[in-house]
């Protein structure tokens, strides 16, 4: 059924390039979070479409819908103009949609040829896999994209760039019409990136539609033909890349309605409580140094993979640094394990609540008291009354609503799980609290509560480090911001110097 509005939407009519794959009005909701709200996306043969947005804008959700991993709650997927669904990942593959992920999803122990042809290997006699034909075909495809890789080598012997080439070869082997590249250059060297660009050009020439997800503007302007910008799960703008400037895209990415209100604070920093100098790790970060004062909120901004969480984990004793010193209250301390960190008054609320934060099979009170058990037990025996007292005190301070402290954490909402994790760390009575993406995956209502609480902690004299990839949060909460890129501190900005554009420029290196 064709409505009047449909016709108006495409003024160029038949002259516009037909999309091989398109999303229209796609909505996806997770408990408490609307990840996508009526977004559209058009992928055209022979064109590179850049998908741009901050972390949490909904880019990965779109990729998962395009590849059949998630099912949309509303809207349509169009393949060559015909409405269809991708109930399982295989259905997306059957329609020629293939994704090359940030971390390539391949099999280390299989050969290159087996990786390329897994699931659709050429068959010989009795339906057995024809190894010779498979290796020959793999060789042809690899040669076609200029990759000098032996198809019989095991994948684990290849470098990351060659693994990407294998992933691309796999995409070609299933006659892909749509290739999704999710931050393909994140782990590549300069030379490898140049080779990737050439490859993208050759894929374009072969008439593939390419969805290119990247944070790097130089890349986007170098190879993209079209752009689509998402912000907070909504489509903000799309069009030809030739019609926009970097500044336009940055504005679309970060500009937003003032829907979030942050607590008013009067920062009153006290004496220095934490001093880090020359903190380095062989592969993850280098020469990190800063000071932190009582009652201060220090924001750490950067793109995903900038080394912020890795540094924090090292500071907390999960990994060992190769160099550097930590001073607490003017005294140099050695932190070799999380237990040492807790003892010295540093606690870390990790980003990944499910994996690193709470123990879902244990009740609330046992989660809250876990790091404090040494303090409130006697000779290895638990004191249940004291446990409940401690747990009640801190869950009440956080306004955690649950039927009882006996409730298993797995039965709580995301926001409440976050509160359990924060209560757990506050119960250790720390001096420095590190909050890694404190409101990621948390609904708007709980977000405000977490922010309010953070302000309250600082007002009480706790030193807060907040790692966040959300610009409004960084701007709204921090007294100072450190921007990290590629494992180094790029700049330290005072509150008055904070501008969204400045943050994005430093973080992305443009």
């Amino acid at each position: 059924m064709l409505k009047q509005s449909d016709i108006i939407l495409t003024p160029e009519g038949a002259t516009e390039d037909a999309a091989v794959l398109a999303l229209e009005g796609i909505t996806k909701t997770f408990p408490g979070v609307k990840a996508l709200s009526e977004v559209s996306l058009r992928l055209v043969p022979g064109k590179v479409t850049a998908l741009i947005g901050e972390n949490g804008a909904g880019k990965s959700t779109v990729v998962k819908i395009l590849t059949g991993i998630y099912q949309p709650d509303g809207g349509t997927i169009l393949v060559n103009g015909k409405s269809t669904t991708f109930p399982v990942p295989q259905a997306a593959a059957d329609h020629g949609v293939t994704a090359i992920h940030q971390e390539t999803v391949l099999f280390d122990e299989l050969s290159v040829a087996e990786n390329i042809f897994l699931g659709h290997a050429p068959r010989g006699k009795f339906g057995l896999i024809d190894l010779k034909a498979m290796n020959r075909k793999a060789q042809d495809i690899l040669a076609g994209i200029g990759a000098n890789i032996d198809p019989e080598h095991k994948l684990k012997d290849l470098g990351i760039a060659n693994k990407h080439l294998v992933a691309i070869a796999r995409a070609l082997s299933i006659d892909a019409r749509v290739v999704i590249m999710d931050e393909p250059t994140a782990a590549l060297s300069h030379k490898e990136i140049e080779e990737l660009y050439e490859l993208v050009e050759s894929l374009k020439a072969q008439g593939k539609a390419i969805l290119f997800i990247s944070h790097k503007f130089d890349e986007i302007f170098r190879i993209a033909d079209n752009y689509t910008v998402f912000r907070d799960g909504q489509l903000i703008g799309d069009g030809a890349i030739a019609d926009v400037t970097e500044a336009d895209l940055v504005k679309m990415m970060v500009g937003r309605d003032v829907s979030q209100i942050f607590p008013a604070r009067t920062p009153n920093p006290g004496e220095t409580v934490l001093k880090v100098a020359g903190y380095s790790h062989p592969t993850e970060f280098e020469d990190i140094g800063f000071t932190l004062r009582k009652g201060e909120i220090l924001g750490f901004y950067g793109l995903v993979g900038a080394g912020r969480s890795e540094f924090m984990q090292s500071l907390f004793g999960i990994t060992r640094p190769s160099a550097g010193t930590v001073e607490i209250d003017g005294k140099t301390v050695q932190i070799k394990s999380p237990a040492d960190a807790v003892e010295n008054g540093i606690v870390y609320v990790p980003e990944d609540r499910g994996r690193q934060g709470a123990i879902l099979d244990l009740p609330i009170f046992q989660n809250v008291t876990l790091p404090s058990l040494g303090r409130i037990s006697g000779r290895g025996f638990l004191k249940l009354a004291e446990e409940f007292k401690l747990a009640r005190e801190y869950t009440e301070r956080l306004d955690l609503r649950a039927a009882s402290l006996d409730t298993h954490v797995g039965n709580l909402s995301g926001g409440n799980q976050q509160k359990v994790v924060i209560a757990k760390w506050l119960a250790t009575q720390p001096k420095v609290i590190i909050l890694d993406e404190p409101t990621k995956g948390v609904d708007i209502g709980s977000k405000a509560a977490v922010h309010e609480f953070m302000a309250e902690l600082a007002a009480q004299g706790l030193a807060v480090i907040m790692v966040s990839s959300e610009i409004p949060e960084i701007m709204g909460m921090s007294d100072r911001v450190i921007v990290m890129r590629e494992g180094r501190i790029i700049v330290e900005l005072a509150d008055r110097d904070l501008q969204p554009e400045t943050l994005v420029r430093h973080a992305a290196g443009i």
Partner: protein, 327 residues
């Protein structure tokens, strides 16, 4: 509180056990007399002791396949000690059994903790090593009833209030480990380390060390059971309790211990062991062929695992329902 108990895994198992006893008594009323039930409990005691230890190991995301071999080795050592020094008091024999079992368990635990070898590989290896050691020290010979001293054989069979000492030891172990698991920091660490090793690490718990202690406890219980086993059956040889480790794991699984770690109770392990013990004792009485007995035990295990999986799936549904309410 009551509602939670009724819907709990333990209540379900008690129901199943009562149902099972009802079914058996309809065919063979003599089975449910107090004397016979005490007999069945006594007979199941070794399984209970090992299941409690195994439960703790599984709780920490590990598995101990060497328990039966540990039992056999400890049993052989104490039998040979008894033959060599018949006058040794039972207390010393018990100390040797528990001590040796503990050392064997610690060996497993150290390999898992310090070398980070997967527990199934470690204990598969030590299982074979322990059996090999029995052969070496015994020369493949049996220690028979007439070689053992009367006091050595009498200890587990001494009746107190109608229940032999063997049964009482199982009851004491259940009580002690219920306290350990619910009232000590170590018990809490077992749950935390298995429930979410990453979160436990962040909370300052040494996960490897916690696993080491789980293997140590499992070893100690296996060693204790080793003496009880050889003295009760009044025989010791290389292959005693062969394959018993699988019954122990099965008892845990039936008792609702999650093979993924983090979920399980001493009561669950006890009830799982009792369920298996009743089936094994009742089936011969109601005249079912030995082949069917194995099939029925196996069927019970699969049903228990299926119920567990079902219970876990239900968890997911609840989240969705709440999400519906929220929107």
């Amino acid at each position: 509180m009551l509602k939670r108990f009724i819907t709990s895994r333990e209540a379900l198992l008690i129901g199943a056990i009562v149902l099972l006893l009802g079914l058996i008594s309809s065919r063979f009323p003599g089975f449910v007399t107090p004397a016979n039930l005490a007999n069945v409990f006594n007979d199941t005691s070794p399984l209970i002791l090992l299941a409690v230890g195994q439960m703790i190991v599984i709780l920490t995301k590990c598995i101990d396949l060497s328990v039966a071999a540990n039992l056999a080795l400890t049993g052989m050592v104490v039998s040979m000690v008894n033959v060599a020094a018949p006058g040794l008091p039972i207390a010393v024999i018990l100390a040797i059994a528990v001590g040796l079992g503990t050392l064997l368990g610690m060996f497993n635990g150290l390999l898992v903790w310090k070398l980070a070898i997967p527990p199934i590989v470690v204990t598969l290896g030590t299982m074979t090593i322990f059996r090999g050691i029995i052969f070496v020290i015994s020369d493949g010979k049996w220690v028979n009833s007439h070689e053992m001293s009367p006091t050595f054989k009498a200890f587990p069979r001494t009746e107190i209030l109608g229940l032999p000492v063997l049964g009482w030891i199982a009851i004491i172990a259940v009580i002690v480990f219920t306290v350990v698991m619910t009232r000590t920091t170590l018990g809490r660490a077992f749950y935390a380390a298995g429930g979410n090793p990453h979160a436990a690490t962040y909370a300052g718990i040494n996960v490897g060390k916690t696993q080491f202690w789980a293997f140590t406890i499992s070893g100690a219980l296996a060693g204790l059971t080793g003496y009880l086993w050889v003295s009760r059956f009044a025989v010791s040889y290389v292959d005693i309790a062969g394959g018993f480790e699988l019954d122990v794991v099965a008892a845990c699984v039936i008792g609702g211990v999650s093979i993924m770690g983090g979920i399980g109770t001493v009561a669950g392990a006890l009830l799982g062991a009792l369920f298996l013990g009743i089936i094994k004792n009742a089936l011969p009485v109601v005249d079912i062929s030995p082949f069917w007995q194995l099939a029925i035990s196996g069927g019970a295990i699969i049903i228990a695992v299926a119920l567990n999986a079902q219970a876990n799936r239900e968890k997911g549904r609840i989240i969705l329902k709440r999400a519906e309410q929220a929107t």
